[in-house]
């Protein structure tokens, strides 16, 4: 049984048919990437898995349990956390408070302190800035904070929406290193990226999404060598 199973999922915004029967699965311990151009439906896919959007049709299961029946705030308790597109840090709250919000679903305060230490260990920069309002952080620091915040819930599955967006190349490297590190610690990851080259270099498998449909799904290496992927997403003619 796969950890996450998405079967024939259709999601609408009003009349706009954003997801047209998506199928994908993620195994325990994998990094799976979802690549696709602007408006392909990547964010919609993540928001549907996390419960913020409800599909009109289809199934989503986590370790065999139906996820769709839970509202977004209960999906976290099932072990799914999300780093939203554009980071979505709480700008008028401090770094520490943002991390505390990440741990909202945890009732054990001892664990909270340990998890915060773990985040500060991954991102020493956040520790220096712990008392600062999140809105005053740089883009890279905000991405670290959004990632750390999601980890505070001790997720089994981490959904990441374009973590490299708008970051300088050095920071992109750093964030991707951290993603691998988190994965090595046992967290399964679904990584949405436009930076397909980077994403495919760390992912085990990948899917290509095009206007609401999965058009390809394969091992990362295979996708990297696929001529259509190379042409459309890797900028290789």
């Amino acid at each position: 049984m796969s950890m996450l199973n998405v079967e024939n999922v259709h999601t609408f915004y009003g009349n706009i048919h954003a997801l047209k029967g998506i199928n994908l699965h993620i195994e325990q311990g994998e990094i799976v990437t979802l690549i696709g151009g602007n408006g392909a439906g990547k964010t919609t896919t993540l928001r549907t898995i996390s419960g913020l959007l409800k599909p009109s049709e289809g199934n989503i299961t986590l370790n065999g349990e139906d996820l769709i029946k839970y509202p977004a705030h209960e999906v976290v308790y099932k072990g799914v956390s999300m780093v939203p597109e554009g980071r979505g840090v709480f700008a008028r709250m401090s770094v520490t408070e943002n991390l505390e919000m990440g741990a909202y679903s945890q009732s054990d305060t001892g664990k909270l302190a340990r998890n915060m230490e773990r985040v500060f260990h991954l991102f020493p920069r956040l520790k220096e800035r712990r008392a600062q309002l999140a809105g005053t952080l740089s883009g890279g620091e905000q991405q670290m904070l959004a990632t750390g915040r999601a980890l505070m819930a001790e997720p089994k599955l981490l959904l990441m929406d374009e973590p490299s967006m708008g970051l300088a190349p050095v920071l992109v490297e750093l964030i991707f290193d951290i993603i691998q590190q988190i994965n090595n610690e046992g967290v399964t990851i679904l990584l949405v990226e436009q930076n397909a080259l980077m994403a495919l270099s760390i992912a085990h498998r990948g899917y290509v999404l095009q206007t609401g449909e999965i058009v390809l799904g394969d091992k990362a290496e295979q996708l990297r060598n696929d001529p259509t992927v190379q042409k459309a997403y890797l900028g290789i003619e």
Binding site: P84, M93, E100, G102, Y104, A153
Partner: protein
């Protein structure tokens, strides 16, 4: 090119007018103040009295303003029924306090005789506010912004006339707490006990509220929800229950203010929430709507201006009954804030707030 020129002329005319308006207001205040002070009609004790009155009245505005500002912060909506929530708290406390008074409890136990009705008023107000939220606002959560506003005005009328229906249009007198009669000497100045008690109670309640918002899990969740509901939900925060808590806490403050108001003015009827509601809304805008310390500061500033304004800058202008223009001061301040500093004293600009 021509439209450009006429547009520019229009802009110029508007800004000349606005500057004229500012200069006029400043001139009125300055001239009035100078001539009042020269006339020397009031002693310094009287001025202190005005300020003390302003502080106790203003701290009530502040308590009510918190509810407007918190609900606005979380839903970007003006809860126009909030003033009537204040009224329901006062009514609830009135019935309990009357009963306690008849049993002699208030005389033998003045502190509890004050606290128990306050707690009861907070519960009544919170309960009614939660019902209003559930029935009149929640179903309209995703409607255009004007729709819940209209629903709020409807809820306001509903509460007023439901209370009128149950309790009639008459005026009820809140039972006196004899222990609060008379004055205390503070720094050699005689100040009415009731005003001190009102201001101190208000300060304590606001300190509690502020600590809740800043330091508790619920308070932090409120701030998270007010920034972004979807992201808050991703944290595991039940957004609906946080919204309900926000209404309940804001209403509890208004209910408590209803009791303190009854101590000051004694009179209770179904319309007592109307004017304080608008004043408190003014205070919230003055402080920067959505901003909690702003609501507190705005309430105090409004209360003090209203209290000293008529004597300080209106009387000196030779206006015969300046005290009757007290409300005009509040509304002039509202208009001026909206025109010249829509962000309020401590707030961010309204127009840049996310809708």
């Amino acid at each position: 090119m021509r439209t450009n020129l006429s547009e520019r002329l229009l802009d110029l005319a508007v800004s000349v007018f606005m500057w004229g308006f500012r200069v006029l207001i400043v001139a009125v205040i300055l001239i009035g103040t100078i001539s009042t002070i020269q006339a020397g009609k009031y002693t310094s004790e009287q001025w202190i009295d005005f300020v003390v009155q302003g502080i106790s009245q203003g701290s009530l505005y502040a308590m009510i303003a918190l509810g407007y500002t918190m609900v606005y912060g979380i839903l970007r909506m003006i809860n126009f029924a909030h003033g009537d929530i204040f009224m329901t708290g006062a009514f609830g406390a009135y019935f309990l306090a009357t009963w306690l008074n008849n049993t002699g409890f208030i005389d033998s136990n003045p502190l509890l005789g004050l606290l128990i009705p306050i707690l009861f008023a907070m519960l009544v107000a919170a309960g009614i506010a939660m019902l209003v939220e559930r029935i009149a606002y929640r179903p309209l959560r995703n409607a255009p912004r004007l729709v819940p506003l209209i629903s709020a005005i409807g809820a306001s009328f509903f509460l007023e006339y439901a209370f009128r229906g149950f309790f009639g249009p008459g005026v009820y007198a809140y039972p006196p707490i004899n222990a609060l009669d008379g004055e205390w000497q503070i720094f050699g100045i005689g100040i009415q006990k009731v005003q001190v008690v009102v201001a101190v109670s208000a300060a304590i309640m606001m300190a509690i509220l502020y600590s809740i918002v800043m330091f508790t899990k619920v308070g932090k969740a409120m701030r998270a929800v007010s920034e972004n509901k979807d992201t808050a939900a991703l944290m595991g925060i039940n957004v609906n229950s946080i919204i309900v808590s926000t209404f309940a806490i804001g209403a509890a403050m208004a209910g408590a203010a209803g009791v303190l108001n009854s101590l000051l003015f004694r009179q209770i009827n179904f319309m007592i929430g109307f004017v304080p509601g608008i004043k408190a809304f003014t205070a919230a805008v003055l402080g920067g709507i959505g901003n909690i310390p702003g609501a507190m500061v705005g309430g105090l500033v409004l209360g003090i201006f209203e209290s000293i304004g008529p004597s300080l800058f209106l009387e000196g202008l030779g206006i015969p009954r300046p005290y009757q223009l007290k409300d005009a001061i509040a509304y002039t301040m509202l208009v001026m804030i909206l025109l010249f500093r829509p962000s309020g004293i401590l707030g961010e600009r309204l127009s840049t707030k996310k809708a």
